[in-house]
């Protein structure tokens, strides 16, 4: 009689359960749950496996070469080749995205969410943007090849670049990430409740004033997350750059002006990984080291986006 009512209640529940289950263990349910856990663990395990392989093989090269690996230009010998040019090229590409895709994409999202009145137009643009987001990245490379490399090649990349210029790559990349910027920004804008807009209209603000000083600031964290994700995409994307000529590139150190750099040949970090991956086995260490740099940057960028989303997630 020393037991407390609480344990008595628990015991009662156990008794009830036992009488329902008849003392049998529900093996099938246990098997299903184990199977599901197993599949999830397997998925995460592959990620862990990949990271371990990359780090075990790449860290020695990074440790041995140190800063030299990060700053050296492309070279024929693995112990001299580095990712200096590749990082510069990738930063340029991100610059194109920031300068072109952000204003245009956010502008398009603002129009869709705040201005558009004709339902057919909104529906058309929504469908078009969703389909653009689903187009394989390689097809954007074809677009860039047809327009920026071939048709406009003499303007964008004259001379030795034969059209395969940094400008062509940057413009292609800017178009590629545009749908991501539009979709995430429009989502963030639509999440701002109508009462905020109505309050601003009520005191006589025009639509642009409402958007600029009320809707955009409230939607800013969401838009920011989208722009970070699009930067990450621009940093990791390879396929379209191969079509518009980043593999054969490499910055010419003698470029004197910004214009010359823009019109010249280029390379980017993921295309350098691709290029080295096709070389003989003695480049393997370099490939893994470059992958560490690539994944490192992407992890930081993605983690920042995830953090921002959880930090500023707002329930209205």
């Amino acid at each position: 009689m020393a037991s407390t009512p609480r344990t008595q209640a628990l015991t009662a529940a156990d008794v009830v359960r036992r009488s329902i289950e008849g003392g049998r263990v529900d093996w099938r349910s246990a098997a299903v749950e184990a199977l599901l856990v197993g599949l999830l663990v397997l998925t995460l395990g592959v990620l862990a496996w990949l990271l371990v392989v990359v780090f075990v093989n790449g860290i020695p090269v990074l440790a041995e070469r140190g800063l030299d690996f990060l700053t050296s230009p492309l070279a024929a010998r693995p112990d001299e080749a580095g990712v200096g040019q590749a990082i510069t090229g990738s930063l340029w590409l991100m610059g194109f995205v920031a300068l072109l895709s952000f204003p245009l994409g956010i502008g398009e999202a603002v129009y869709l969410a705040e201005y558009a009145r004709a339902p057919w137009f909104t529906r058309l643009v929504n469908t078009v943007v969703r389909n653009l987001a689903g187009v394989p990245s390689l097809v954007y490379g074809l677009l860039g090849l047809a327009i920026f490399v071939v048709a406009l090649g003499d303007v964008l990349g004259p001379g030795s670049a034969s059209g395969r210029s940094l400008l062509a790559g940057g413009l292609t990349m800017a178009i590629l990430v545009l749908p991501i910027v539009i979709i995430t920004s429009a989502e963030a804008l639509r999440a701002v409740p109508g009462s905020i807009r109505e309050a601003a209209f009520g005191v006589g603000a025009t639509r642009w004033e409402v958007v600029r000083s009320h809707v955009l600031p409230y939607a800013a964290p969401g838009i920011f997350t989208g722009t970070i994700l699009s930067m990450a995409r621009a940093f990791g994307e390879t396929a379209p750059l191969i079509l518009v000529g980043a593999v054969i590139g490499g910055f010419n150190v003698k470029y004197e002006s910004v214009l010359e750099t823009l019109q010249g040949r280029y390379t980017a970090l993921p295309t350098t990984v691709y290029d080295w991956a096709r070389k003989p086995q003695d480049f393997a260490g370099n490939v893994y080291a470059a992958i560490i740099v690539l994944i490192g940057v992407l992890l930081v960028v993605n983690a920042l986006a995830i953090y921002l989303r959880y930090r500023f997630e707002r329930r209205w």
Binding site: V37, V129, L143, N302
Partner: protein
């Protein structure tokens, strides 16, 4: 609008409510700028379709159409067997789906129905990180690790380092997070009342998850699978690195052999030499393959879109 006292108050006209004309002009200008930005995506879509169709047409009109079903894809020798690379694409995508569908759906069911809030909060961002790993990385992983450790022992006879099975598994790993995330969203959105009704009838957790929630979310789950397939068909770098993008491929159905997908064939054309712009049909063939690829993924995406919309209407 100022009414002077003693007199009749001045009539309020529309003009008084319009505000200053400079403000109105600015409003109009801003609206036009945004409209121009909004038209951009339509312009881009039109440019993609026009540039694909233009060059593809010049390919179709020049090539000997019987060559399209020849025994191999060797554009530099003027052998444009499109059915070789379409088969390769479907084979790699099928292997990818065999890997990704169980992994992705299993992870989705567990996360949506079984996992505690804490596990969800940790695992979902990790899956997003997996989704963010660039495809070049998975391609190299497939070539260096998956090919010798998984594919080689399971293939009969000597296997080459480059093979479609490794590429397919790599593609599968790449699309698993996508399938998991879309399917999990669909299952999580199933209203709790359905689960409670099921429990109320005495159903077990496993019955509720697999017989109630899973069917209720089926359109979202099908959409997840279609999106994954579409992504797998459009995936380039994994195949290009792991399946041996040497520029050509014989027709084969054996995943243990090197092969070529549409995407890998295109990158091989673009990198093999930078003379793709030469006189041969290689350059327009690039766009023809691109158009076929575009058609495949567009059709799949439209179907997936329709399924997603059905979820939204139901609940």
């Amino acid at each position: 609008m100022t009414a002077t006292s003693g007199q009749h108050p001045a009539r309020l006209t529309i003009g008084d409510l319009r505000g200053s004309s400079s403000r109105r002009r600015r409003e109009l200008a801003v609206r036009l700028v945004f409209l121009a930005a909004a038209s951009l995506s339509i312009v881009i879509s039109a440019l993609i379709i026009l540039s694909l169709i233009g060059e593809a047409w010049s390919f179709i009109s020049q090539v000997d159409l019987t060559l399209l079903v020849e025994r191999g894809w060797f554009p530099r020798r003027d052998l444009y067997s499109i059915h070789t690379i379409v088969t390769g694409t479907l084979l790699v995508a099928a292997i990818g789906m065999l890997v990704a569908a169980p992994l992705g759906l299993g992870a989705a069911i567990y996360l949506s129905e079984y996992a505690s809030a804490r596990v969800r909060r940790i695992v979902k961002p990790v899956l997003e990180i997996l989704a963010g790993i660039p495809s070049v990385v998975l391609g190299y992983f497939a070539l260096q690790v998956l090919s010798p450790t998984i594919v080689d022992p399971s293939c009969a006879g000597p296997t080459q380092a480059y093979n479609m099975a490794a590429a397919g598994i790599g593609v599968g790993i790449l699309i698993t997070p996508l399938i998991a995330s879309v399917a999990e969203d669909a299952m999580y959105a199933v209203p709790s009342s359905l689960r409670e009704a099921s429990y109320g009838l005495g159903a077990r957790k496993r019955t509720t998850s697999l017989r109630i929630v899973f069917p209720a979310a089926i359109s979202g789950i099908v959409a997840a699978l279609i999106l994954g397939l579409s992504r797998g068909i459009g995936e380039t770098m994994v195949v290009s690195i792991a399946a041996g993008a040497t520029g050509g491929s014989l027709f084969t159905l054996n995943p243990c052999e090197p092969g070529q997908t549409m995407t890998a064939a295109m990158t091989a054309l673009a990198t093999g030499s930078d003379q793709v712009r030469g006189a041969s049909l290689a350059f327009p063939s690039l766009f023809f393959v691109g158009l076929v690829l575009f058609g495949f993924t567009l059709a799949l995406n439209l179907v997936a879109d329709r399924f997603v919309r059905r979820v939204r209407i139901r609940y």
